[in-house]
């Protein structure tokens, strides 16, 4: 399952920006790392991060499911079809530099996915919106993130209804690629034109709720932030900058 899992772990109690900063540092660190040992240290860090959030089980399974197809493709593209020199393992001839590269790339993707799935499992959307509001983030940005997620199921349902209605009217979804491309119009036009026709109504509704006000909003229940958490976020920033400085220094050398 992908999404927020309620809990009382240190990550659940932390300020949402701290958890997101940890996941962001994992992402940036993963792209800075170029050796298998560095990348796999980050995978270990991501696992510790997930365990600290009590989300190892909730995050590790989807992370593995998402990473598995990438691992298979990496094995084929780099391990089997990679450059010389090669080593023979049973009946298979593998590229030595290709396997090393696959380990770096696969580990990188696993660390990123595991880190962000943990953040997703431990950061409550409500607390994030409250933190953004308390931090003075303009209404538009919080509205975009929060409300788009709420209209998506409605749009998906509408798309499914249009699909069924057009099929009832005789639209065929199969056939040649050209025939299927022709079916795109009858399915997309009603969905988009219907949604566009509702735009003004939604603007009026938002305006009536004071959404357009430029005044700073007051968060009802802002998550507490502490000096130590702010310091941790700054340390993470310094670590990421240092990792890239080290990477480029090594590339020059």
């Amino acid at each position: 399952m992908i999404g927020y899992v309620p809990g009382h772990s240190p990550l659940h109690r932390a300020h949402p920006y701290t958890t997101l900063a940890l996941a962001g540092a994992l992402l940036l660190g993963a792209f800075a790392a170029t050796r298998p040992v560095e990348v796999w240290a980050l995978v270990g860090a991501a696992a510790v991060f997930a365990a600290a959030g009590g989300a190892l089980r909730a995050s590790a399974r989807p992370a593995l499911l998402l990473s598995l197809p990438i691992w298979v493709l990496l094995f084929v593209l780099h391990g089997l079809l990679g450059a010389e020199p090669r080593m023979v393992v049973g009946p298979v001839s593998l590229s030595v530099p290709g396997i090393a590269r696959a380990l770096v790339l696969g580990g990188r993707i696993t660390a990123i996915v595991l880190g962000f799935l943990t953040a997703l499992a431990t950061v409550s959307p409500h607390r994030l919106v409250e933190a953004m509001t308390a931090g003075g983030v303009p209404f538009g940005r919080t509205f975009l993130l929060a409300s788009t997620l709420t209209i998506l199921p409605r749009m998906r349902e509408r798309a499914a209804r249009i699909l069924e209605a057009q099929q009832c009217r005789g639209l065929r979804l199969g056939g040649s690629v050209v025939a299927r491309l022709r079916a795109l119009g009858p399915l997309t036009l009603p969905l988009v034109l219907g949604a566009l026709a509702e735009v003004d109504e939604q603007v009026l509704a938002l305006d009536a709720r004071g959404a357009g006000s430029a005044a700073r909003r007051t968060a009802l229940d802002p998550p507490p932030d502490s000096a130590s958490q702010r310091a941790l976020r700054r340390v993470l920033l310094v670590l990421v900058v240092a990792a890239y400085a080290w990477k480029f220094w090594r590339m020059r050398g």
């Binding site: 992908i2 992402l27 792209f31 992370a63 998402l66 990438i70 493709l73 990496l74 084929v76 593209l77 780099h78 079809l81 590269r101 790339l105 990188r108 993707i109 990123i112 996915v113 880190g115 962000f116 799935l117 997703l120 538009g140 509205f143 975009l144 993130l145 409300s147 788009t148 997620l149 209209i151 998506l152 749009m155 998906r156 798309a159 499914a160 699909l163 979804l173 199969g174 690629v177 299927r180 491309l181 079916a183 795109l184 119009g185 399915l187 997309t188 036009l189 969905l191 988009v192 034109l193 949604a195 566009l196 026709a197 735009v199 939604q202 603007v203 938002l206 305006d207 959404a211 357009g212």
Partner: protein, 201 residues
């Protein structure tokens, strides 16, 4: 200027901002939902930038960039595949290109929208291929990677295989996306089209 006209102008500005916001949200939703229709039709394309191109045509580049970036973030949140976040740069490029194409009126006719889409595909692939090659070694777990693997198996160097796969898929994808947006804009009822001043430019 009279005392009453200033608040009226402020109010109009405010309405435009809220309207842009609602349209951006719509663009993001289209980007994320259109995959459902594409999957039902079993088409070998993504069309995940139709909403961005539409917002660029109806509102402008800034709103389209916001729509593109938000789509990329929400797509990562919904699918769990956060490793695709670096491809957000491609959405920015698409938004800027689409706004320029709309400004030139290229979406008014299918005959100009399709070549504009091919150009967009070329620009998008020029951004996505280096990201795919340098950050992910050509593996992004999409249909593009299957094309890359086939080309690599046929003996093409990895860089060439990644570039060829990106260009072939992006040219087709963006040409269809631009044709679809052109069709949408031409199908807008006159009363609805009149609400979007950017269309008249």
């Amino acid at each position: 200027m009279s005392a009453t006209s200033a608040p009226a102008a402020d109010e109009r500005d405010l309405r435009v901002t809220l309207r842009d916001l609602v349209l951006v949200r719509l663009g993001v939703a289209i980007n994320l939902v259109i995959g459902q229709i594409v999957a039902a039709l079993l088409l070998p394309v993504y069309l995940d930038s139709v909403g961005t191109i539409l917002v660029a045509s109806l509102v402008g580049p800034r709103a389209a960039i916001v729509a593109g970036l938000t789509s990329q973030v929400l797509n990562a949140v919904l699918s769990g595949n956060f490793s695709w976040l670096p491809f957000a740069l491609v959405q920015v490029v698409i938004a800027l290109y689409a706004a320029a194409a709309a400004r030139l009126g290229l979406f008014r006719r299918l005959a100009t929208a399709v070549p504009a889409g091919v150009g967009m595909g070329f620009v998008a692939a020029s951004c996505s291929a280096p990201i795919s090659y340098f950050l992910f070694g050509g593996v992004t777990a999409g249909g593009v990677t299957v094309v890359t693997t086939v080309l690599r198996a046929l003996g093409a160097p990895l860089g060439v295989a990644v570039a060829a796969a990106s260009y072939s898929t992006d040219l087709l994808d963006k040409a269809i996306a631009c044709a679809l947006v052109s069709l949408l804009l031409r199908s807008l009822p006159r009363t609805l089209a009149a609400r979007f001043p950017a269309l008249a430019r």
